[in-house]
Symmetry: C2
């Protein structure tokens, strides 16, 4: 992607835009990524009609979806997540929404709002139209950030975890970690819609209040204030845990395993507490024997494996949104400059809801 | 059971047998169980016709099945396995085969060979006939030890792990730990019958030779001689692991997780390396993130949940035995005195195949 972008930088004044873009300087196997790893650069990009190749479009980026999986795309190792690695010196790519500025493909015209899972993290780009995943219907009544939240990466992850992998019955005891995050806030609401009892853990008292008052969780706790996770789980789950949607791994997963019920399901959505260490430095889970005694199924899942279910997902979620059953919360950061801080905010428990970057005005 | 046995001890010389039996003195939460925990005592038991209550039978025990799960029945804690605990001062119970000596139930007559999952570990007993699980057909052509091996606890565990939980395709790369043990020897053969490539780990060079020459494993290694499990798994699984039947847990499970393929299945049959420690002392598994990146399903299972499949299992296995495709190996220890040593031999990697105790001559 990056090479194409650069090759299109021309010096004509007419139809040329300045575009800032994030590219990979070096891999960050462990620790918090910094500007030693990801850097912003400015390029000049022609979006004049004659410089758009056949079957290409020029896009003005509007919104980017900032998700934890991105961390796994520039570790330079494959340990654990096995995501394809971004290439050095190339612009990194991301899920987002853009507006078509120029089109050399009859399927798209200027002003179309489009979604792609592989937009460059840039203000503008010229890209093959085949990389567009969907056109957004302006008359849908659904807000653009919703397409990156309830209808986007975290929504699809939450739906797969709750509805496909866990599939809880009404009345099941459901526990969700990172409960106020992008996935957690949606997963909790989906489990409530199914009639489950839903408890969440999150990283501040304010977020505990929020998951109860805005996302409809039955209860929740601030794990940072709890010294004894076993005790707090005993308190909130006197009848045990039937479903644990794991977003964090490590000690929380270990504690949950001491409280699982017979035939519990543990969809593994991610393990955000463990992404910034080498695997040998990660917290070992010592009580996996509970999986035997309680006949528990623990199962990892990735979104792309289930893309054939995206239509079912979107249909269900659109219904929930339109009937007011599903209320996402979005943290919007402004300007492409905010990308690195936005990404790191996912790991510091400092934000609420889905993190989105607004690059240009919609 | 024990109280009934004792209440039936009478002093009549006619119809009275001496019977030695193992009973629980104290729970053994950790470590190797000793005669501090399990003790042998001698009782006198009347098996005269008039002392057999209605719907009861007197049984002369022939064979006992010694299986790792027994260790979980006298820890006095529920950590991990959650098996019902044997009661203090009571005779412990076990899967075995006995011969009916007296019957006060028209369904059974003297000489019948019967199976039960809850025989007392005794030389003789009087028990309700409702506790008999099956009568063995002497004309079946199947040896009695086979009913405790391929057709018993380890056979059913192996069948559930391979055929029900893992369900591998022909050509799948299958790894089995404790490969020469009761479960492993059968699981390996079942996976070979399915057309898989099967590698086993076991605890001596002699057992490596055995799993290849007698059980048909494609290859195997002696884990005690390997300092670097990752390296040895790389060598034996250049194309990764599709199915791991885990009988041991701990470091072996952790190493396997670094070699799993996309959508691998890990049926958790048991974790024998971890039974003699408190859970906080067990080996932590640090790389569960692989379950996410490789979308692996790890799932514990217990036999009693699947008893509705026992008929399917027995029919398939009898076919394999009669056509010579499944060849078990049995280690027979003689005399009820050998019970404690037989049980401990399961944890010291000192035996090959299924461990059975022969109490009286069949």
């Amino acid at each position: 992607m990056g090479e194409e972008v650069k090759s299109l930088v021309v010096e004509e004044e007419m139809g040329v835009v300045e575009s800032k873009e994030w590219y990979l300087v070096s891999y960050a196997p462990h620790g918090v990524p910094t500007t030693d790893h990801l850097k912003l650069r400015k390029v000049r990009l022609s979006i004049a009609p004659e410089s758009i190749p056949d079957a290409h479009v020029a896009i003005e980026m509007l919104l980017f979806s900032v998700d934890p999986y991105l961390r796994g795309r520039f570790t330079g190792t494959l340990d654990g997540l096995y995501f394809p690695q971004f290439e050095l010196n190339q612009v990194i790519t991301i899920f987002g929404i853009g507006r078509v500025k120029r089109s050399n493909d009859s399927k798209y015209e200027e002003g179309d709002i489009v979604l792609s899972a592989s937009f460059p993290v840039a203000e503008y780009c010229v890209m093959p139209s085949s990389e567009i995943d969907a056109k957004i219907d302006a008359a849908s009544g659904i807000s653009l950030p919703d397409y990156l939240s309830t209808l986007g990466v975290p929504g699809f992850a939450a739906w797969l975890g709750i509805e496909v992998v866990a599939d809880p019955k009404p009345g099941s005891n459901v526990f969700i970690s990172a409960a106020s995050g992008g996935v957690g806030m949606i997963a909790g609401q989906l489990a409530k819609i199914r009639g489950c009892r839903v408890i969440g853990s999150t990283g501040s008292d304010e977020k505990v209040r929020l998951i109860k008052e805005e996302f409809g969780y039955d209860d929740g706790f601030n794990y940072k204030k709890e010294e004894d996770l076993d005790a707090v789980l005993s308190k909130f789950f006197p009848n045990g845990i039937d479903v644990y949607l794991d977003n964090v791994g490590g000690k929380m997963l270990e504690s949950v395993l001491n409280h699982v019920n017979k035939f519990a399901r543990i969809p593994l959505c991610g393990m955000i507490s463990q992404y910034n260490q080498a695997w040998t430095e990660r917290e070992g889970v010592r009580n996996l024997l509970n999986l035997v005694g309680k006949e528990v199924r623990m199962e990892g899942f990735l979104l792309k494996t289930h893309f054939n279910r995206f239509g079912d997902f979107a249909k269900e979620i659109e219904g929930h949104i339109k009937e007011g059953r599903l209320k996402p919360k979005t943290k919007i950061n402004f300007g492409i400059e905010s990308f690195l801080d936005s990404l790191n905010s996912l790991f510091s428990s400092s934000n609420i809801g889905k993190v989105v970057i607004q690059v240009n005005k919609a």
